[in-house]
């Protein structure tokens, strides 16, 4: 029973990583860049939803929508101002810029919201009015799964299915896949590559806002650095699953969440990160493209 409850907490944490990893992997797949500022968009999403609830009196769901809208715009602006001028630049220059954007977002947050952690109101309160946990009880109360965890897992599955349908069925989604394979060929088809990249950033950033709200609902202290560590774990998850692959990000996110939860439970809290990265290294040694990363034969 104990194991099951660790497993479930790992899966729900992993669902958040998966949602973040989807953003990393889509941007990597299409723009061929590692957007290291992606984690900080999560933090911005957290603060925006916090402000929505605190100062505008919105309920959690409307605050979530507000955060998604703001992050979408933020993602498009960052891409347009910081990354688009570097389209022909070396990947190192782009990487350094992304790190710069990350610091810019963190320090702006520090300036605007200060260093004191904010106490975040979870999307679904962890306990109800009588102090009973808001959770689904199974096996006569031996196993309890919080509604927040259930919501997170559901959100992750819905997002994953939605994105898969979008990229395999819609015209824009197919254009994204075309751009990810060959930008010049896509241009020759009449696809506006810049627009496609903007849309990708918009989607990734909206997902980061969702992740921010979910993350802060589990871990209700909100600081300018809130997004960094989950961002790095989710990046690990994306690489683990095979960067560029949507199901890979999903699988990688879940696995990293479960490995982290198990390592914390059975090894030690301090070593959890080391265990996560050790597993990553082993996987990459065995499968350099990640679990679901693929090689495609090219004919000449």
């Amino acid at each position: 029973m104990e194991f099951l409850s660790y497993l479930i907490s790992g899966i729900s944490l992993g669902s958040v990583y998966a949602i973040i990893a989807l953003g990393y992997t889509m941007v990597y797949g299409i723009a061929k860049m590692l957007n290291f500022a992606h984690g900080d968009v999560i933090m911005v999403g957290g603060y925006i939803s916090f402000c929505g609830m605190m100062y505008l009196g919105l309920n959690g769901w409307l605050a979530l929508l507000l955060a998604m809208a703001v992050c979408t715009v933020l993602g498009i602006i960052v891409e347009g101002l910081a990354y688009r001028p570097l389209r022909q630049a070396t990947s190192l220059a782009v990487l350094i810029t992304a790190i710069g954007v990350s610091y810019l977002l963190q320090n702006t947050a520090l300036l605007v919201w200060g260093a004191t952690p904010k106490v975040y109101q979870p999307l679904i309160p962890l306990a109800n009015a009588d102090g009973q946990p808001n959770a689904l009880r199974l096996f006569g109360g031996q196993l309890s799964i919080s509604y927040m965890s259930l919501l997170t897992m559901a959100a992750c599955i819905i997002i994953m299915v939605g994105l898969t349908m979008f990229t395999s069925n819609s015209k824009m989604g197919k254009a994204m896949r075309a751009c990810s394979e060959d930008k010049d060929a896509a241009r020759l088809m009449g696809i506006n590559v810049n627009t496609t990249i903007s849309v990708t950033f918009a989607i990734g950033s909206a997902l980061a806002a969702v992740a921010g709200v979910l993350l802060c609902s589990f871990n209700p202290t909100l600081m300018p650095t809130t997004g960094s560590m989950p961002g790095i774990r989710a990046f690990t998850a994306a690489v683990f699953g095979g960067i560029g692959s949507i199901p890979g990000a999903f699988l990688g996110g879940l696995l990293i969440g479960v490995i982290e939860a198990m390592a914390k439970a059975y090894i030690s809290t301090q070593l959890a990160n080391s265990v996560v990265f050790a597993v990553l290294i082993v996987v990459l040694l065995v499968r350099p493209a990640g679990l679901l990363g693929k090689y495609v034969p090219e004919k000449v």
Partner: protein, 236 residues
């Protein structure tokens, strides 16, 4: 006949490398014009400049009387210009059908199905394999897909960059038969080839490109008879 494409005095650079040096040529409506030349002569660079993937420092490119130099590449398809690039460049991880849909990206969704039927009529092999991942097609099938994909936009001018590259002789024949058919159906074609013999046999007119300059031009038959061309490109 009306001039469809007029390229005048273009100069294209790759950094310090001066790849195209003052090239001018034109393609009239309904013609097959071929650009032949050795490896590295600048044939692909010329086509990429016409389709907007590369920029010329000087000169002008006029399509249907309108200047298209400096216009973003992705807007040219809707002007009626399609480019089948060297090495086919199909989307290897997408299905045959999806590749064709991408070819119709700028077309209204409602017309995609009928355009696809037309392409399938031209290339029945593609229809049999419509749900196959393009990366698993044979080289010849990939070339058919690349051409079919370009035709999805109903181009007025079809630019083909070495469609015969890497194909067995029988497939080369097939590809050239298709070029003749497309031409008969009214498509104007600008053909880049290393296979000079085949290219000159279908072309109305031809240009010879040597290290970034046009050194000879004439009708296909004239150039096929020319001693210089015979020596350099036709093996005697």
């Amino acid at each position: 006949m009306a001039e469809l494409l007029k390229v005048e005095d273009i100069n294209v650079y790759y950094g310090a490398i001066h790849a195209i040096k003052g090239v001018s040529f034109h393609v009239d409506e309904g013609e097959i014009v071929t650009l032949i030349g050795a490896n590295g002569a600048g044939k692909s660079t010329t086509l990429q400049t016409v389709s907007g993937l590369l920029r010329s420092k000087t000169g002008s490119i006029i399509f249907e009387g309108k200047s298209i130099s400096g216009v973003p590449a992705h807007t040219l398809v809707s002007h009626g210009l399609a480019h089948v690039p060297e090495g086919r460049r199909i989307f290897l991880q997408m299905t045959v059908e999806e590749n064709l849909e991408m070819g119709a990206f700028t077309q209204p969704n409602a017309s995609t199905a009928s355009s696809m039927e037309k392409v399938f009529a031209q290339f029945p092999r593609l229809e049999e394999r419509r749900r196959q991942i393009a990366g698993t097609l044979s080289g010849g099938e990939q070339q058919m897909l690349a051409m079919g994909r370009a035709l999805m936009s109903h181009p007025k001018l079809l630019m083909l960059d070495e469609p015969s590259m890497g194909l067995a002789p029988i497939l080369v024949e097939q590809i050239f038969d298709i070029i003749r058919e497309l031409h008969k159906a009214g498509t104007t074609i600008l053909l880049v080839e290393q296979n000079a013999q085949m290219a000159l046999s279908v072309a109305d007119r031809a240009y010879v490109l040597e290290t970034g300059k046009i050194t000879l031009s004439g009708t296909g038959a004239e150039l096929a008879q020319s001693d210089a061309v015979k020596k350099a490109y036709l093996g005697g």
